[in-house]
């Protein structure tokens, strides 16, 4: 009886894990006794780069699809990428984030997004408009290299006009140097 229910739980968990192909368990779920890790559950997973990441909220896909554009953008499954001062280079951290964003875009192939380029306040307002453009374009190029259709990716620069954090210090500046993703149609 006990053994049978344990097997059942294990089976459900395995199917669930395989079905979602997630590398980590969702955070919010109750945690039943963990199954003994076995080689067979890990082995069939695809190679690293294209592994589908976990979206920030472990929502079933139909629930994401059902949300309004405003709701989606308010709590977006597409995460921003950040840049160094006066740079539009996509670094390793940004690549990981963009890979996750690419996976989301592949999951929802009808989505069209606008990539906003933003800058911190330390540069001149005019040059920041150009720099923001380059940041948005750099993020777009990387998404295209990951197989996202270029027609789904628009870019726009806001320069330093709309800081996410209005404070005048590095903690704010580092948050404001970003490519920000907005779902414009789905």
């Amino acid at each position: 009886m006990n053994l049978r229910s344990l097997i059942c739980i294990c089976a459900v968990l395995l199917i669930g894990a395989a079905g979602c192909r997630r590398s980590q368990p969702p955070v919010a779920r109750p945690t039943p006794p963990a199954p003994p890790p076995t080689a067979t559950t890990r082995a069939p997973e695809p190679p690293e780069p294209m592994r589908e990441p976990m979206p920030p909220e472990p929502l079933p896909s139909d629930e994401v699809a059902a949300r309004s554009l405003d709701d989606l953008n308010r709590d977006s499954p597409l995460r921003p990428v950040f840049f160094e001062y006066d740079s539009s280079d996509v670094n390793d951290t940004s690549r990981t984030t963009l890979q996750a964003n690419a996976a989301v875009l592949k999951k929802y192939p009808s989505w069209v997004i606008t990539i906003e380029g933003h800058c911190d306040e330390r540069g001149t307002a005019e040059y920041n408009l150009a720099l923001g453009e380059r940041r948005a374009v750099a993020a777009r190029q990387y998404l295209i290299s990951l197989g996202i259709d270029a027609n789904r990716l628009r870019t726009v620069s806001y320069g330093s006009e709309f800081p996410f954090d209005p404070a005048h210090q590095e903690s704010a500046w580092s948050r404001n140097r970003r490519a920000h993703f907005v779902i414009t149609s789905k």
Partner: protein, 459 residues
Amino acid sequence: MKKLGQILFTAASALAAFSIVGAQTPPATQEPSAPSSPTEISVAIRGEVGAPPHYAVPDFIALTSDKETAEAAKLIAEVLWADLSFEREYDMIPRDTYKTIDQLNTTETIAFDRWRELGADGVVKGSVRKTGNTFQVEMRLFNVRARSVALGRMYDNVSLRNPRAVAHTISDEIHQTQSGLRGVARTKLTFISDRDNERVVDTVETRTGKEVYVADYDGANQMRVTSNRRLNVTPSWSPDSRTIAYSSYTRIHPQIILSNVYQGTRETLTDEKSSAFMPVFSPDGSRIAFMSQRDGNPEIYVMNRDGSGVRRLTNHSSADSTPTWSPAGTQIAFTSDRSGSPQIWVMDADGLNVRRITFGESWADRATWSPAPFNQIAYSARSGPGFDIRIYDVAAGTTATITDGVGTNESPAFSPTGRHIAFSSSRSGKVQIFTMARDGKNLRQVTRSGNNTFPNWSR
């Protein structure tokens, strides 16, 4: 009795010299006037040798006894005094020092001796009369040493709502006739302001709209031009000062829009799947240079005034931005980071012959080429944590810093005469528009509400 005779004599000579010009207040802008005629120079008011003449502007006389006229009479004198002091051609005697000097209730003469004692070389006396729905304003400029009238004007149909305009007109006339100088009292500034604190539409982020504004050169009559509740940036005047070109995020990508501010109409020049920023008219008004990433990277383009005939001028994998035309329209200065940091570069108007002009800067941006006869380029340069305004002399190859390291100072824009610069500065807290003379003196704050950026001076 002797005094009365003297006054009568002076009044007669004043009348002889006085010419009545029944003119409406001229439009906000005029073509630069021809150089002064010899006659006018001969009556020019002079001060002590080696010193500028001292001017006084007492309150104008209210010839009708209503409150509106009384207020206008005082306001016109105040504004005229400030206009005359702006060009620093005359040493303006503070107005509170001569409140009781001249009680003569006429513009036909002045108490010459009293004014001479005060040290005045020129006195502007005027009157305001309400005639129906307008004012009639009369002005005489007295040469105190010569005991004569140097200039006399009558203005009909002066708006009751904006008597400042006639003060600006008088100031420009005095500068023209007395100093052979084109004044800027009737020019305007355009800039971007977030003062309305309206939330941008179509975004889940909390963002405040930034709208195009215009104001008189001295900050009076601030007026909102756009009301699209989006981000609008980089406005600039057409050479005839009747149109403002700017970039507006009314669609996903910012587009270049022309706002015909005296007609209240607008034209969208670009309709692309890409952004277009920083429109600037060529000096003859026929073309507009701008920045766009339509080919995948920020580059400088030029198009006809109607948006046709787009041509690409730069071709470099770095960001090329913020164009400005040379006075003759044959060259364009711009910002490029092709050397590794933003610097000012110059090219011929066809995109050829690209060369760098700033070398000692770690960050230089927003070049703005002075009008003729000056051949200088103002720009904003990194200076400590902020930026300062510098002026590069193209012929001499020298650079002068005209702001003082207080706050961050950006986006210089020359006045149409090249004698003044408008810029944005955080020196007073929020970012505000200021003007100063090209030598860094005569700092004046133009805006005080919200944050105000991207100034541009009408021609």
